[in-house]
Point group: D2
Chain length 140, copies 4
């Protein structure tokens, strides 16, 4: 029932000629917080499971942008799990700065086996992983 919060400052290279953070950077902010959530759960987004590699390709991503972020703004990226299905996980995130919600995002990933040679096959989320992710399942 926890959220994972990450603090970061807007970097210069993330801005565009309108003087604000380019909208594509928000998905990188969300991903970076998602990977921190994995680490806090004792996992990694790229894991060896015996001889196999388990990873989480994305099937959907969405953002609503409420207000711009600017250079050197200090933000909090708050991320949690809204749903864990048989094979997929849906994250929600809020990007906050100075008490305001600047953007809200959703990201759905599918648990996949990455085989030698790069073939990708979806698989049921292993119980050992599901139990750890459950700590960030939040009803909101």
């Amino acid at each position: 029932m926890a959220k994972c919060e990450v603090h970061r400052r807007v970097e210069y290279a993330e801005t565009d000629m309108a003087g604000i953070v380019h909208f594509s950077e928000f998905s990188r902010y969300m991903e970076s917080a998602e990977h921190e959530l994995f680490r806090r759960a004792g996992l990694s987004v790229m894991m060896q499971d015996g001889e196999q590699q388990v990873s989480w390709p994305r099937v959907a991503c969405a953002f609503e942008f409420k207000a711009p972020l600017r250079f050197e703004d200090e933000m909090t990226v708050s991320i949690w799990i809204a749903d864990i299905g048989g094979k997929s996980v849906t994250f929600r995130c809020e990007i906050l700065c100075g008490g305001d919600v600047k953007a809200v995002g959703t990201l759905t990933s599918v648990c996949c086996l990455i085989e030698e040679g790069g073939r990708v096959t979806s698989m049921p989320i292993p119980d050992a992983i599901r139990e750890k992710l459950d700590a960030f399942l939040t009803d909101e």
Copy 2:
């Protein structure tokens, strides 16, 4: 009633350690095609309107990812306008490669006046701009 089609090849820097195009790059592909649509309409996404600058900050962006893109894949980014409201425009796009739809995206932007000093205010889409964008309004 036209779509704007742009052809491009996946660049190495767009790939990630899973050997596929990072999902954040798809929003850049969509934006690049959107700006080509503006140019074909005789517009630019950053325009002077007398002494004022008119631009189009994003309020929403969403993607569904159907299949991965890989290094040197040649793709077609097809973009069109699904809706023109009083102040906003909603684009839809398909990213195709080898006859398959790899991803579908949606982007909503709001017509804004950028004042000296960076203040951003939404405004009704000027008629001269609306008429040109209408050529890409597609019922699909």
Copy 3:
């Protein structure tokens, strides 16, 4: 004795809050042209050589920036090979726009064998590759 020329237009996401192309993008422009040079030579920067993968990690990169590039500028990236050593290749590139040289760059890569598991070992450039790259060796 040829140069490889690539034409491209500055994309919005490549600009920063100063209204110009961010300096880190120039190394991506150079890399993209380098990979086109490989293609025109009948090669790829990521090749299978029997069961092994041959690639070209970078050991050095340098740029001098003469003048800024701006959104929608149409540039020519001209790249050629300045030197081919036993294991390494040094590229030089010029980025031109409107008749002016905007930046000059240098990139040195080492021919490497990528083994299963990710181990990287430098190797002499195979003759079949060297012969093809020679076409872009330019004395300038």
Copy 4:
């Protein structure tokens, strides 16, 4: 006589299909540390000086890459000033991970006045700025 040290962890989006950090990201790591140096000196890389804006366009950037960085590697970016000229500053940086130097970089920026309308003119570094930067001038 101080160096500015910044700690960060490699993010997934910074990796490429070779499984290592893409070389263009190193210039972003260096820039991010440079901006932290400005902050620790009580400055910002984008400053108002009365009604004028002072910024630091780059004239040169160079990197030597000694060894790759990989996803979730924790690095230290150490940056200092090697030279302060009349109008320019040259930074040097080392990127360290696990006790090893992974890359060394050099960046030269010129103090410029950014006028309304985007005109950029180089200017002598103001004394008030020079005195603060002097704290990071290191003889190495």
